[in-house]
């Protein structure tokens, strides 16, 4: 059964980094549920998007202490990957398990950290949490290397419960201490020193001698628990199911108050939460099943434009719409700096609490950057995508009425919806000057169509996904 393009565009804004008119055309003959399955079942797709060429073209990728280049590579993947949900889930977990370059004495371990999130992003949560606890960047970030059998450091144990899996109010201070004891000895090998040859990765080791093997009591269970046992207990709790579900809702469905408010503010949509929680528990924490259920549910389909795009989404989706970005595209190297001035430095979140999302992404400076960036891209006819957007309206078989013209602009840009206020402004422009369509092609016609796109990407609604 064919699917409405507007719905596919919505799905791809959330499960990936946007779409193009061409891609929408291809997908629209498919059944919606099949499109969701294709996004979720990433193991069925073989995809290595020309990354060997990328690394040859950007030798800085081999540098040991330049994470901006790794962000370049990540942006390239966001735009080109055949598995967009994999990149989106990686970004999601990066928001939740916010770990940063700023505190990583061995910088390259941050690159491994993101790769770990990518490899595990759609697996069972227990596998992801185990690899997270054994990740050298995380171990250093939350000081688990200072968590010793005889002298515990609670930093990781605390955040594992508070920020990574359960949320405040679902465990006691004693639970934190016992969880921390279970993770003693989870550390990394002494890396090769920085001087004189630069940064080297560090590797996880389990130091049996530094591990407290005594009996622990955690969330009502008793035993000589190691870290993996703690994770096993966590993922079976309702609290964990609720916690992950609320994060997923906030990132993929609609902006919500963020985690510090969760113990006070009830969820926006309790029914949606119940569906996600049930799937999580029934599937025993299988993230693929949770995502599948979420994308196929009515609450998801009805959530169009309920989120403010984060800078990574804004940058990647606008590029995807307007340009074809090959591995040699010199614009790639500017995207890291661009996302920083828009308020989101990937691989370097502000704190372990991650980024402030929703409308907090927007201030005068970041809004200016976003608008100017989108205007630059869409008004430049050297960009194949932008040119296609303009051409396709000019080449219409019939002359377009003003309303048809505005609707055409909205559809081409990803089946966007705007307020009456914005629609009227666009309609006003559309009703002036030469008529568009019927292959009537000249400078004035082009200029008018470009102006409409320019105004659309400048609109408040274009900030939303």
């Amino acid at each position: 059964m064919a699917t409405d393009k507007a719905l596919i565009a919505h799905l791809y804004r959330r499960a990936g980094f946007g779409t193009t008119p061409k891609l929408l055309e291809e997908l629209s003959s498919k059944d919606y549920d099949d499109i969701v399955d294709d996004l979720v079942d990433i193991d069925k797709i073989n995809d290595l998007p020309d990354e060997d060429i990328l690394s040859r073209y950007y030798p800085q990728l081999h540098s040991t202490d330049n994470f901006g280049m790794d962000n370049t590579k990540w942006f390239y993947r966001m735009i080109n990957s055949k598995k967009p949900l994999q990149e989106k889930m990686t970004l999601f977990w990066h928001h939740v398990f916010a770990t940063g370059w700023t505190k990583s004495e061995q910088g390259p371990t941050m690159i491994d950290h993101i790769a770990m999130l990518r490899n595990n992003c759609l697996l069972n949560l227990r596998i992801l949490l185990r690899d997270l606890a054994a990740d050298p960047a995380m171990i250093f970030w939350l000081d688990n290397c200072e968590n010793h059998g005889k002298n515990i450091n609670e930093n990781f144990g605390r955040e594992l419960l508070e920020l990574f899996s359960m949320g405040i109010g679902n465990y006691t201070e004693d639970d934190i201490k016992h969880a921390s004891r279970a993770f003693t000895g989870w550390t990394f090998e002494q890396p090769i020193p920085l001087y004189p040859y630069g940064h080297f990765k560090s590797q996880f080791i389990f130091d049996q001698d530094d591990h407290d093997d005594g009996e622990k009591e955690f969330l009502g269970n008793k035993g000589n628990f190691n870290g993996e046992d703690i994770i096993e207990i966590i993922v079976k709790t309702d609290a964990c199911a609720k916690f992950i579900s609320r994060h997923l809702y906030n990132f993929f469905v609609a902006d919500e108050p963020q985690i510090p408010a969760w113990s006070i503010e009830p969820p926006k949509d309790q029914e949606a939460m119940d569906i996600l929680v049930k799937t999580f528990l029934d599937s025993d924490a299988d993230m693929k099943e949770v995502m599948r259920t979420m994308f196929k549910s009515e609450f998801f389909k009805n959530s169009m434009f309920k989120r403010v795009k984060c800078p990574a989404e804004f940058i990647a989706s606008t590029l995807k719409l307007t340009s074809e970005i090959g591995p040699k595209d010199s614009r790639l190297s500017g995207l890291h700096g661009l996302s920083t001035v828009m308020g989101q430095t990937l691989l370097d979140p502000p704190t372990v609490e991650g980024w402030h999302t929703g409308k907090e992404w927007i201030d005068g400076g970041s809004l200016t950057e976003r608008i100017n960036y989108a205007v630059d891209l869409i008004s430049d006819m050297e960009n194949v995508g932008s040119k296609f957007l303009v051409d396709s309206l000019i080449m219409s078989d019939t002359e377009l009425s003003s309303e048809q013209l505005v609707n055409g602009v909205l559809e081409n840009a990803g089946h966007l919806e705007v307020s009456d206020q914005t629609f009227e402004q666009l309609l006003d422009i559309a009703s002036k000057g030469p008529s568009v369509g019927n292959n009537n092609d000249n400078e004035d016609v082009r200029s008018k169509v470009i102006q409409l796109y320019t105004l659309l990407v400048s609109s408040p609604e274009f900030q939303l996904a």
Binding site: F305, G358, G365, L367, V375, F423, L455, S458, L464
Partner: protein
């Protein structure tokens, strides 16, 4: 609405210069008569005779002659050993702490954003605070507060890539209507009115600010020739906007590149020259525009650096220094220089701070801007008396 002074004294203005990356205070204000300095700074230090003495036992960095001149004119207060307990060595966290006055928790409101709220409670002037450079610093960010971030004053605003000015103006006209706050946002399945109105207010602020700033470059004339570097350019922009009399009370500028883990000597030399000459030119420019009396400059960095060098540079440390500069300032040394005796190093490797940074903010807020600092710096901290 532009705040126009009718007569008499001009409104006080604060200019912040942030040295990003952690300035090596030990090599900025050098205890040149102390043998320990030469012991710990074997590779990354300045020989006696090269540094520029300005008291019996302190000397400026060899490239900071303009600082020595400003000091001798009595216009520079040096706050020695500024910091806070359990100083963070993370750049971001440390900057956050400086920007929010909250060392022990993650805060959402910048200290200068709270200043804007005090000075312009109805957000009537988007230029009450102006930051130069890319991105808005956390210090100026808080919910409901509008501050303007200018990357390039000569080409500031929205849709600046559109070369045809008539077209651009037509677009901005439509923009202003798209960004008009509304009681109800009908049509479309978009986010709630709260979010839409926040976007609308922010967009309107950008437009209004850009409109106010557009004639600024053409109105400015000066005989001062600034050097070609980022801090000189930003300080020149401060004078351009300040002398346009648009009601700006807080300016923010940043001088980056102070994170000298390696190859510190040539890099720090360059920055010290740029910074000190930039400030010197800035003051001369203000003088020329009869605008010196109302302005005070704060120069700070997120932390100092490790006592011992690592052979090529210095790693993150604590206990840096700050400068308060201006005609109003009663020049001299304030608070104590942290002991550089190894037995008194913090954690066995760092300078220990002698004065809380929130007390310095408090000093500027109360004694310069005339505001009650308690709510802004989140507490009562000892102040200095660096003003005439």
């Amino acid at each position: 609405m532009v705040t126009q002074k009718k007569s008499g004294k001009k409104d006080p203005v604060l200019v912040v210069v942030q040295l990003s990356g952690g300035n090596d205070f030990l090599n900025t204000v050098i205890p040149f008569t102390n043998g320990i300095y030469y012991d710990v700074r074997n590779y990354v230090g300045h020989k006696e005779g090269e540094s520029l003495p300005f008291t019996d036992d302190l000397a400026f960095h060899p490239n900071a002659e303009p600082f020595r001149e400003i000091y001798k004119e009595g216009k520079m207060a040096i706050i020695q050993g500024i910091g806070y307990e359990n100083s963070s060595r993370s750049h971001f966290r440390a900057m956050d702490i400086w920007h929010t006055c909250e060392p022990n928790a993650v805060a959402t409101e910048g200290w200068l954003a709270k200043v804007i709220r005090e000075l312009d409670p109805n957000s009537s002037n988007p230029l009450t605070a102006v930051s130069f450079g890319k991105g808005l610093p956390r210090a100026l960010a808080a919910p409901g507060v509008i501050a303007t971030s200018v990357d390039n004053l000569d080409n500031y605003g929205l849709m600046t890539s559109i070369e045809d000015n008539t077209k651009r103006m037509a677009n901005l006209d439509v923009f202003s209507r798209m960004y008009t706050p509304a009681d109800e946002w009908m049509g479309g399945r978009h986010e709630s009115g709260v979010v839409m109105n926040y976007l609308a207010n922010t967009g309107s602020g950008v437009l209004q600010g850009a409109d106010m700033l557009k004639d600024v470059p053409s109105r400015y004339k000066s005989s001062i020739e600034y050097a070609d570097n980022s801090i000189a350019k930003a300080l020149r922009d401060v004078v351009r906007v300040h002398t346009a009399d648009l009601g700006t009370r807080v300016f923010y500028t940043q001088h980056g590149g102070y994170d000298h883990h390696a190859q510190e000597m040539p890099a720090h030399d360059r920055l010290m020259g740029e910074l000190s000459q930039g400030i010197k030119d800035f003051m001369a420019d203000l003088e020329e525009h009869d605008a010196s009396e109302e302005i005070v400059i704060l120069v700070f960095s997120e932390f100092g650096r490790r006592m011992k060098d690592n052979g090529s540079g210095t790693d993150h440390g604590s206990g840096g220094g700050a400068f308060i500069i201006g005609n109003r300032v009663n020049g001299g040394l304030y608070s104590e220089y942290p002991s550089i005796d190894p037995s008194e190093w913090l954690n066995g490797e760092d300078l220990k701070h002698t004065f809380d940074y929130r007390g310095v903010y408090g000093t500027l807020l109360e004694q310069h801007l005339g505001l009650d600092p308690t709510e802004i710096v989140l507490g009562n901290f000892e102040q200095l008396t660096p003003f005439k």
